[in-house]
Chain length 239, copies 2
Amino acid sequence: MSIRFLTAQLAQQIDEELMNAVGAFSLDQLMELAGLACAQALSTVYSKERYPKVLVCCGPGNQGGDGLVAARHLGMFGYKPTVYMPKPGSKDIYQRLQKQCINMDIPIIPPSASIEELTRALRSSNVILDAIFGFSFKPPVRAPFDDALEFISASRLPIVSVDIPSGWDVEFGNEEGVGLNPDVLISLTAPKPGVQHFRGRHFLGGRFVPKAMQEKFKLNLPEYPGFDQIVELPRNYRM
Amino acid sequence: MSIRFLTAQLAQQIDEELMNAVGAFSLDQLMELAGLACAQALSTVYSKERYPKVLVCCGPGNQGGDGLVAARHLGMFGYKPTVYMPKPGSKDIYQRLQKQCINMDIPIIPPSASIEELTRALRSSNVILDAIFGFSFKPPVRAPFDDALEFISASRLPIVSVDIPSGWDVEFGNEEGVGLNPDVLISLTAPKPGVQHFRGRHFLGGRFVPKAMQEKFKLNLPEYPGFDQIVELPRNYRM
């Protein structure tokens, strides 16, 4: 049996069931584990010795929150992250996660900064963590992320994308050609249909879905090794 | 420079500073990372193949919450945990963490169960995770934990204790002789004075204290390897 590719609707439903009164998870918990998994995937491929400077690009939604958590853990692992989050969401959790980064001396490019600030940050970075858009993204890409995606692509830096590479359609992938071209992908809970032709290194994170829920949604997840929060998918995981 | 042993008062102060408006961490976040670290320490020493059945013994406070999180992660790792939590704290978080365990099909011995239920559980367990008392424990050990400690000791099962072995004085250790004798210890944030003569395998968890706070409290923490949430202390870590 092969792994299941989750539509945006199903991914949304799983998130809701994890966090409703029955699932009983808080957003804080799931974001902590998802962000930790993202940091683990990046550090598996890009060592802190050769790629110390990580530009963590965060969108306005939950995916941006995962990025902030990942930035903090990367700081703990010994990387030198910088956060780019031009449109921080209004939820209290984004404020708290940003404060946690600031307490770790992780620079945050202020939302008021010009796009040139991003290009400067790109010039002094070794690798990108793309936590801009997640499975709830619907095209088109709006400002300031349209310019941001262009500059990130132009930088030719290696990119680790979270869940769905930014700019890709969750169902149809990069058909429009406006999305990033990541080298590494970390899918959360289960991969989405849009990434089934992705051929870079592909990790899975989100080791928190109870067995019963895995079965209900027929996820057919691979086994995670040891106590890691990530598992690398083999090259032949396709449907 | 050697690692610092933290009095209960300092450990309390660090927890408070992590969770006040400046530190900005939620209890959910810290408990998730602490509990994950406990599960990682246990699984490093006791494999799920030889020690599948873990009895996770939880006290009424935050330490019990760490235990519930650890039980869930152990379930994710492929162990068969059972939770013994005779006095669940009243905070909402304990209810949520218990529900998360129940959703993972982790049996929870009900608080109404007789002490014989504990002895039955001990007979079918391979290893104990002792998350009964933490750094805020003050003697004497009160019911039902007095009997529980006795039965756990009598079982002669291997024990992994969290932060301070249950029954030990946080400052003076097991001077009274009523405490557990764990084989493995996982100290959270930094070890406490009472465990400085502990000679089993000793891990450190709680990889979330920002560098600036580590320096303020002169923790002199060892370096954590890779992306793990635990680090094993060398045998010569004494003051």
